[in-house]
Symmetry: C2
DNA sequence: CCTCTTTGTCCTGTGAGTGGAAAAAGTAGG
DNA sequence: CCTACTTTTTCCACTCACAGGACAAAGAGG
């Protein structure tokens, strides 16, 4: 099938497309209530959008006491691909133009295998989704990688945990393979966009989204827009010093947050504790699986294991301390905690909250919710779809 | 004299006013090169601006090989008042519409005397400037206060070091007294705007401006715009923990940056050192003046006093540590250091740089200048004038 | 069947804006 | 002084976006 390649011809059309994306099917009258355009102008722009095929008529709506309205909706055949490459796994999802997830695959995989191997995997997963009848092709794709990205070019730069990816033309390459427009961003930023689009951050203009996975990163949203920094490394909070003269970190410094708390650090600490015989629960799991991960700690904590709970609490304290500093600095309206370790749940959240509320000034914390992400593992792929749709639904 | 009250009637006019403000007198042709409007449209808008009196004709420019152009400039009789209220002194300056400082007064004063006393002082200083023939009246005023501000209303909120100012309608009151529009902001934000307009940050979109005075604050500029946070307290970095279980701070916590380094902390440390006989230089000054301030430490350091240098270095280390965290998080294109303690100069700067370059990742620090502010004590008042001119030079 | 309400289309007037032509005001060289 | 060429500015006709009223279409309710 031929894919849509049209783009909105002006800002009004872009505005309408986004309204339809975020609000679903709408009548001309309803759209008119939201955009401050005359009915005639609106009709013209809607007609042009209908011509491009980006939107289609969608039957009659129920009457509200007068003539029934003709609904308009985004073309239901449009498909976006959302890809979220983590350090240890890949998520791929298909959405429609309203960014509803139609299918979602997840596979373990090590980014360190390099871009070629990973892309092969991603393309195979995309093909599988296509084969299952969810899509005949893609109109756009968003992709998140676990490291800094030079955003305009869509190229990873100096990614610490992704050897072999530095300078690899992700955007260009994937665009070639898929035959559609592609945008690339940091995975944390995509998580933030996901929570903003469909999660807890829907109504907040300025917020932080802290993702604790294999590493730790932070998405920054300013005035509804993701802030990426001068070189694309904004939000890289994993190497902020949390403990003076603390543990050595892979980056060469000591006491980095990531060295003290992250999926990797937690697994290591738990293994150590198990070997020292501090926790039967963890020791059993270590024996059973031959190794421990954050998931084991989570399970042990859920079973009431004191050592596991302590590890989580201590990590939460360190994380909370760093976040407290960021809250003082940034004064966000919301802090979202997400990533692989959200399984640690409320123990972690409580520790973080305690630190932040104690350390930051009342004016900044007075009305500051600190919550877990709502979307879990789908935040990234939804954010990816949102990224590419924002790009496509803007004037050409 | 009747003051101008006109405002630009559309975005084009606002654009032109800002170009004339930032670039000085310009011909229609030169303006045309910068704004992407047709000659005719441009002529129309310029004519309208001439009608309002905001801009005036300014004679003929030199020929560039053809017909000489008629220069246009902002009305040279326009006057802005810039007020910078610090913890221990007040700066008041008069500028023209191009934000050139025409006169500048500085007086010691304690903000804790409350808004009424301070305003009396400010108005007296403004009157003095007016009496000296620099202005017949003011077309707008910007004012900076050393604490968080609810920006849209121009009202200080919960300012820690300004008892009696909480909720005082600064904007409203000053607007009444001066009979012109007024905008209020945090003094640190104004410093950032000052350095952005006329100082080191002219070409940078995203930067941080750290002001070390009686307290410590940080102006945040994102995409050329000051970021103020959800409740107006963004940049309040004085109470970020710099030393775990460090010194008690007035805020109730321990180890806050401000407790370890700021004008106040430095004065206290120096006094202590002098009393303990660690430094003859400082002891002499203590005896001579009956007390020590940051200025004394600065002078002692300049004279080579080891104790003073140590104090500065240690303070710089703490500050640098906090800034390193902010750099990792925010990934700015520039860090400006300013405020009262810039007299400490390169000793301080070196200590800060060392910490930041050591602790933050190369991608964030690779091309990151960390420099002293260029404008010194005038940054605040210039920023204040810039604030109100930005407001007045935007569509009504 | 009639009236009222809501939705959608048509049409015309207005004002913004573009771009070409011409006028105005120079310079440079013979 | 005259001519050729530049640059700046004004003038004018034409296009296009857009608003807003009139009107048609379609339904609800009595």
């Amino acid at each position: 099938m031929r894919r849509m390649t049209a783009r909105p011809g002006n800002a009004h059309q872009a505005r309408l497309l986004r309204l339809l994306r975020d609000g679903g099917p709408n009548s001309r009258a309803q759209l008119g209530d939201q955009v401050d355009l005359s009915r005639s102008k609106l009709a013209v722009e809607v007609d042009r959008l209908l011509e491009t095929g980006l939107v289609v008529a969608d039957g009659l709506a129920a009457s509200r006491g007068g003539r029934r309205s003709h609904n308009i909706r985004l073309n239901p055949e449009l498909r976006f691909l959302g890809v979220d490459i983590g350090a240890t796994s890949v998520d791929v999802a298909v959405t429609n133009a309203e960014l509803e997830t139609l299918g979602h695959l997840n596979q373990p995989m090590d980014v360190r295998e390099g871009p070629v191997a990973v892309f092969e995997q991603v393309l195979a997963m995309a093909a599988k989704l296509r084969a299952s009848g969810l899509a005949e092709g893609f109109d756009g794709a968003g992709i998140g990688v676990p490291g800094p990205v030079r955003f305009p070019e869509g190229v990873p730069v100096a990614p610490p945990i992704m050897p072999g990816w530095d300078g690899f033309p992700v955007r260009e390459a994937l665009s070639q393979e898929l035959g559609c427009p592609v945008m690339v961003d940091n995975d944390v930023n995509l998580m933030a966009m996901g929570e903003q689009h469909a999660g807890v951050a829907r109504t907040v203009a300025d917020f932080l989204c802290v993702k604790i996975g294999t590493g730790i990163g932070c998405g920054i949203v300013v005035g509804g827009e993701v802030y990426r920094g001068t070189t694309g490394s904004a939000g890289d909070i994993g190497h902020i010093q949390a403990v003076p003269d603390g543990r050595p970190c892979a980056c060469g410094n000591r006491g980095c947050l990531e060295a003290h708390f992250s999926g990797a650090a937690l697994a290591r600490d738990a293994t150590e504790a198990a070997q020292q015989g501090l926790s039967d629960e963890l020791a059993q799991r270590l024996e059973a699986n031959g190794g421990l991960t954050a998931v084991d700690v989570s399970a042990a904590a859920a079973a009431g294991d004191a050592t596991a709970l302590d590890l989580i609490r201590e990590g939460g304290n360190h994380t909370g301390q760093v976040i407290a500093g960021l809250v003082s600095f940034f004064n966000p309206g919301l802090v979202v905690i997400g990533g692989g370790v959200t399984g640690l749940g409320h123990t972690l959240l409580a520790a973080i909250r305690t630190q932040v509320y104690r350390q930051s000034l009342p004016l900044a914390t007075g009305n500051l919710p600190i919550v877990l992400g709502e979307l879990g593992p789908t935040a990234g792929v939804i954010g990816a779809a949102r990224l590419i749709s924002d790009h496509l639904f803007s004037p050409a």
